[in-house]
Amino acid sequence: MKHTLLQRLIQAVIVLTGVALLTFVMLRIVPGNPIETMMGEHANVETIQRMTAEMGLDQPLHVQFFKYVASAFRGDFGTSYSLGKPVKQLLNSAFANTLTLALFAALFAWIVGIGCGIFSALRKNHLSDRLFMGFSLLGISLPVFMAAMLLQYVFAFRLHWVPISGVDSWKGFILPAIALGWNSAGQVAQMTRTSLLETMQEEYIDTARAKGRGPAGVVVLHALRNAMLPVMTMMTIQLSGLLSGAVITETVFSINGVGRLMVQAISGRDIPLLQGTSLLATAVVIIGSLLADCLYAVLDPRIRKEG
């Protein structure tokens, strides 16, 4: 187990370096000069040259890269061209918002999704099953911006229960979390239902009933833990997706999160910021899948390795 974990950690570092290198190279070989974009059409050639030299963009690519990596290790990701602030500071404040939003959304998705899934499976083909599954299908098929605007219209504009946008208080997170989490909730519900129904057909469920377990005990103690294995994997993948920034939701609800920052960085050809955001997103996904692996090993003894 420890051995596997160490292996995965080394892999994580390799992947992270690879992504850093790729984004670094790609951002520099695409046509167009970021300084020109930054200075506007009327800047003269000398100024542009001076700025390019100041920012070290005239140095050979490998020198630039090693400088970047060296300062990144010291926690310095450069200064944003367009916002004029250190990337680290920008990421810090944006990630706090993204993290809160993602956790709210995930919490909603998991509680509602797993709950609906279990309930639907146990009452297969009843009216409640159809209702729940219709609801989850709606979540899966409805585009996020549609869901977001629908929720805004009903709960903020009509009912005034929650603010329409902005996250000045925790209440501001409710609608975006539901809009963002609805899709995941639908997926989780569908998968929980299918997986639980499949598990209930397993022979060890008969064994549990044959030793005198009641229906609730059979589901909770025997079926659920096995049924949740694939759902668990999906949920961690979803979480890392949510954490790496929800561009649309953040835009619709004007939340300053990583997703919005990334869009800003792209449109402004803001190389340090773009590098920072993509590194953060990569790190989050890597940590997420690492976590999924650990969780899986805890839940399923069959994949635990000896030693």
Partner: protein
């Protein structure tokens, strides 16, 4: 001790399908005397597993027990509410399944799974349950019980897993153990060990209902045998008598179709035709379509299970004649 542990009278299980009602178990009558192993033999699909499930009260939807009575130690259990029925499962009647590979929960330690059976029926602490489990592991000859207790199912061999299943089934000292094809998934040497274990349990006082399609297993282990065909018992008798002088043409067909090791290389005999579709059973004897001696009566009327010789029953109009031949 009562003379009869299990008595099944006219048990019927029906399935409502889109094409109509089928009866996988059609008026089955069975008796398991105390301290005996009774075998039920038949082809796959003849209803033997469904009979076992019905006795356990574990028939799955859309199946339903629609007729007949089941008596456990003289007490009727068919009408009991589900809660009481559940109390019997695992304590008075237990069951082991065909596939030891899949009949244990893969994510729970095997020791814990056996503990669960103890704790469901007897109030005791975790430590006491564990002690009981370890003792039972010793009884079913699981080597190094302490080490095995903490194993997960995938870490054990098929034979060991089936022993764990037997330990789980036997831990509350049930009156009746239903073994549904307990050795089908095992290789022959392990099969022999498991059958020996069943005999040991019988000698210790548990009656066994052994379900198998394997005539060798039945002949070696059982005291009495019932032969099942298309949801009905077609012949019943003491093992020796039944194998020596089979009265029903289906039983004779089964016995003829056992491969022998005799030299000569003769072609293996089979029963012509296939098991009839339960939706379209023949009007008369359900074996009539495949029977070489089928007469006019056989096609018209369903024969009753009649006693032909002492303790030897058959569901065939021609059984007396066969008995004399």
């Amino acid at each position: 001790m009562e003379q009869t542990v299990l008595e099944v009278k006219n048990l019927t299980v029906s399935f409502h399908t889109e094409k109509g009602v089928i009866l996988p178990v059609n008026g089955v009558t069975l008796t398991v005397p105390a301290g005996k192993i009774v075998g039920v033999v038949g082809e796959s699909g003849c209803g033997k597993s469904m009979t076992a499930r019905a006795i356990m009260g574990l028939v799955k939807y859309p199946g339903k027990v629609t007729g007949g009575k089941i008596f456990l130690c003289g007490k009727e259990i068919t009408q009991l509410p589900e809660k009481e029925r559940r109390r019997l499962r695992g304590s008075e009647i237990s069951m082991i399944f065909q596939e030891p590979m899949t009949s244990l929960n893969p994510v729970v330690k095997v020791g814990k799974q056996v503990d669960e059976a103890v704790r469901l029926h007897t109030p005791c602490t975790r430590a006491e349950a564990k002690q009981k489990t370890l003792n039972m592991f010793r009884e079913v000859e699981i080597p190094e019980p302490e080490a095995r207790y903490n194993c997960y199912p995938h870490q054990l061999s098929g034979g060991l897993r089936q022993r764990v299943m037997i330990a789980m089934a036997m831990i509350c000292r049930p009156r009746l153990l239903i073994a549904d094809e307990p050795t089908t998934a095992l290789d022959v040497t392990v099969e022999a060990q498991i059958l020996k274990l069943l005999e040991k349990l019988r000698d210790a006082g548990t009656s066994v209902l052994l379900i198998s399609h394997n005539l060798g297993v039945i002949a070696r282990t059982c005291d009495e045998v019932s032969v099942m065909y298309a949801g009905r018992i077609v012949e019943h008798g003491e093992t020796a008598a039944l194998f020596e002088k089979p009265l029903h043409p289906y039983t004779r067909g089964l016995l003829r179709s056992v491969a022998s090791l005799r030299a000569g290389g003769e072609t293996l005999q089979t029963i012509p035709g296939v098991v009839p579709n339960l939706l379209h059973l023949p009007k008369g004897c359900s074996f009539s379509l495949r029977c070489e001696k089928c007469g006019a009566d056989c096609e018209e009327k369903v024969p009753e299970l009649r006693q032909i010789a002492p303790g030897h029953f058959a569901r065939c109009f021609l059984a007396e004649k066969e008995g004399k031949e």
